[in-house]
Symmetry: C2
Subunit: 242 residues, 2 copies
Amino acid sequence: MINKDSLTHHISAQFNAELEEIRSHLLAMGGLVEKQVTDAVNALVDADSGLAQQVREVDAQINQMERDIDEECVRILARRQPAASDLRLIISISKSVIDLERIGDEATKIAKRAIELCEDGQAPRGYVEIRHIGEQVRKMVQEALDAFARFDADLALSVAQYDKIVDREYKSALRELATYMMEDPRSISRVLSVIWALRSLERIGDHARNIAELVIYLVRGTDVRHTGLAKQGPAAAADDKA
Amino acid sequence: MINKDSLTHHISAQFNAELEEIRSHLLAMGGLVEKQVTDAVNALVDADSGLAQQVREVDAQINQMERDIDEECVRILARRQPAASDLRLIISISKSVIDLERIGDEATKIAKRAIELCEDGQAPRGYVEIRHIGEQVRKMVQEALDAFARFDADLALSVAQYDKIVDREYKSALRELATYMMEDPRSISRVLSVIWALRSLERIGDHARNIAELVIYLVRGTDVRHTGLAKQGPAAAADDKA
């Protein structure tokens, strides 16, 4: 197990400073990505095409942040040749930025759907679900980042487990929208736009889960991907069977 | 620029052997993933639920390969502290396996759709498109891996550019299927299954593109993500404007 203290015991104060800096860059990128998710969902449900346009423009900034953090990671690997928990930290950061960037991409896709739906005018079905699932996955992103900031494997575990609930609600929303399309075929193209936005939200949940799993790897040194979360704790076991 | 020769000039023969081994593991994983894509598409268009079931079972093997290669990467980073092109190689491998694993996930999703559609019985619209786009993205995966095997940045660039063609055909197929749903609302749930499979194929193309971009980074030492491919060569410029 590592904790925040173990990160502050390097021989080189400079190296400490570098690790702290890169971690703060990751969290700053995460904060911006989380805001993109919120803005994209609001743009869609409030039919605010100006906000949607803004989300699309901010995406370039997120892509730049990914490149910058990536370069920092490579520089640290090459110069500092970190071992053990420092190495895990760099690896976790370098993988987390991939997921953050893709969350940004999904937010941009939602913004595009928002613009389509604004042009269309009518408020279709599915907005309640968009708002609800949107809030759930935004919270997953936020908590995955909090878990990263505090090296909190328990919080990370609960984020990873929560993804199942989101998947279930997503599937139930899809079934409802499919039924609605059958009842009112003229709504199909509008409802499809809503379905694509929902799918993006479900993906955002997947990426937040990936980040949470990286935090668990970082803190505990074990790779929990694909292995089932049940082995991680008694609280997990109950949910994993669901 | 690096080439295969520059990889064979290490002081430690053992280190060479380790780099070659991890690269061959990546390519073996890639070969299996490519086969999963082929099998999943065939299972769907041939309504072969046995083959679909097999795809779902093989996925666990791919997940295990990802974990194993990942561990090898961490071990090499910790022990060998590679620099320059060796470091880029390890980073590219460690990121490529993420994309390969997700291609495997998408193949599994297609297999699930295949099983649904088998149970349904009727052959819906969209199978021609599934077969066509399926073949395109399978080839992208294959060529991205070939580019990795031969450190061929030109081939990687053409794979990355090809993704635009796939996206265009995907969108055109979607429009057609939406129209079909409007004409025959009873087909909606079947057609949605086909749409999900198409979407998985489009994602597979995205992941193949990611791998191709990692090959360009590996060979040329430049990060081409998000920057537009036009800067990479004259042949690219024409396509990038399209």
